[in-house]
């Protein structure tokens, strides 16, 4: 017969990965049932690399473009919105499908709820005005500043667009410099240009 501590030590090497993963999956369902899930997120493939999309019960709260540190983004969301966050591609099926369709050129507008809680004040007004720029059209930082209530705050409008938490769905890529220059883009200028070409806004 093996020594007591030798038998006990075998438990350390016993595989529990599968059972623990199944337990965790059941737990997430129970948490949803008890309304303890505040944020769900999923990774989405796109022609511009992997995106990260996060949603609250109100709607999409953040879309992070390729090139941003996903862990950092998630930690920031945990701080600003809620740490009760779960990865759930299934709960984000509708958004992921619409993004796919959009990138394939088969969708012109998004039919998803939005949660604006990461933007405030003037920036929020700029972004809400941006959300109304139609597919195929472009606008300018100056015009967005004006729509947000301060025609002279062009630079502030630019900053607001640079801080857009929900790019693509809130189409900040449709906002150009007043003279027609491309301006900037968080996902890189080639992405901005490609989106505008796909939408037929530029040649």
């Amino acid at each position: 017969m093996a020594a007591v501590d030798e038998i006990l030590s075998r438990a350390r090497r016993a595989p529990v990965g599968e059972a623990a993963a199944q337990g965790a999956a059941r737990f997430v369902k129970a948490a949803e049932k008890e309304n303890l899930v505040d944020v769900v997120f999923a990774r989405v493939d796109s022609p511009f690399g992997e995106l990260l999309v996060a949603s609250t019960p109100k709607g999409v709260v953040q879309l992070s473009l390729h090139g941003y540190d996903q862990n950092e983004t998630l930690e920031e969301l945990a701080r600003k919105v809620s740490p009760r966050m779960f990865e759930s591609p299934k709960r984000l099926d509708a958004v992921r499908k619409q993004l796919d369709e959009y990138f394939e050129g088969k969708r012109r507008s998004f039919d998803v709820g939005l949660d604006w809680q990461l933007s405030h004040g003037f920036a929020l007004r700029v972004l809400k005005a941006t959300a109304r720029i139609p597919y195929g059209a472009v606008s300018s930082y100056r015009e967005m500043a004006q729509k947000a209530g301060n025609v002279r705050a062009t630079r502030a409008a630019g900053n607001a667009l640079g801080g857009n938490a929900i790019p693509v769905i809130v189409p900040c890529h449709r906002v150009l410099r007043t003279g027609g220059g491309l301006g900037g883009y968080g996902g890189g200028l080639p992405m901005k240009e490609a989106l505008l070409q796909m939408e037929g806004a530029i040649l």
């Binding site: 038998i7 350390r12 990965g17 623990a20 303890l36 740490p83 779960f86």
Partner: protein, 161 residues
């Protein structure tokens, strides 16, 4: 409970916390409660952690934190067990389930030990925790944690012979 420290590390997204600690919690519960109570205690542990999570200021010692919750939930379910006679469906897989019948026999004996001895032995052997962490979880001194393991082992050896 882990002591509060002055360095504030915010807890990570719950998904990362769950992924990082679910196996330790599962291993502990498998050794500590009856096989058909493992899943319930696992759910209770993480639901309780999730409820408290937004109020957590300090994310530096989440392993001890969640294993402390698991310990408390497991004691509840262990006591509840005596009163309820529940139908048993599928038994969850347990680490001690191997080809060794002696493993089962011994782990059954472990589950008959007093709470602190049982917890200390499971954390020591199934999770490989240092005595310092075991002490935090079962709320005693490091020396008392050591003593609990020694006492438990002595009883097990006595029962096995």
């Amino acid at each position: 409970m882990p002591r509060a420290r002055s360095t504030h590390v915010r807890p990570p997204p719950f998904q990362a916390f769950l992924d990082g600690h679910r196996e330790e919690v599962y291993r502990f519960l498998t050794g500590f409660v009856a096989p058909h109570d493992v899943d319930d205690a696992f759910q209770e542990t993480f639901l309780s952690a999730l409820r408290a999570y937004p109020g957590l200021r300090n994310g530096t010692n989440l392993k001890s934190w969640v294993l402390t919750i698991a310990y408390r939930k497991a004691m509840d379910s262990h006591r509840g067990r005596v009163r309820r006679a529940m139908p048993v469906d599928d038994l969850p897989e347990q680490p001690s389930r191997s080809s060794h019948a002696e493993d089962h026999a011994l782990w059954d004996l472990v589950r008959a030990l007093p709470d602190k001895q049982r917890a200390a032995i499971v954390q020591r052997y199934a999770n490989g925790l240092p005595y310092k962490e075991i002490a935090q979880i079962i709320e005693c001194s490091e020396e008392a944690a050591r003593q609990n393991v020694r006492e438990g082992l002595k009883k097990l050896k006595g029962m096995m012979t």
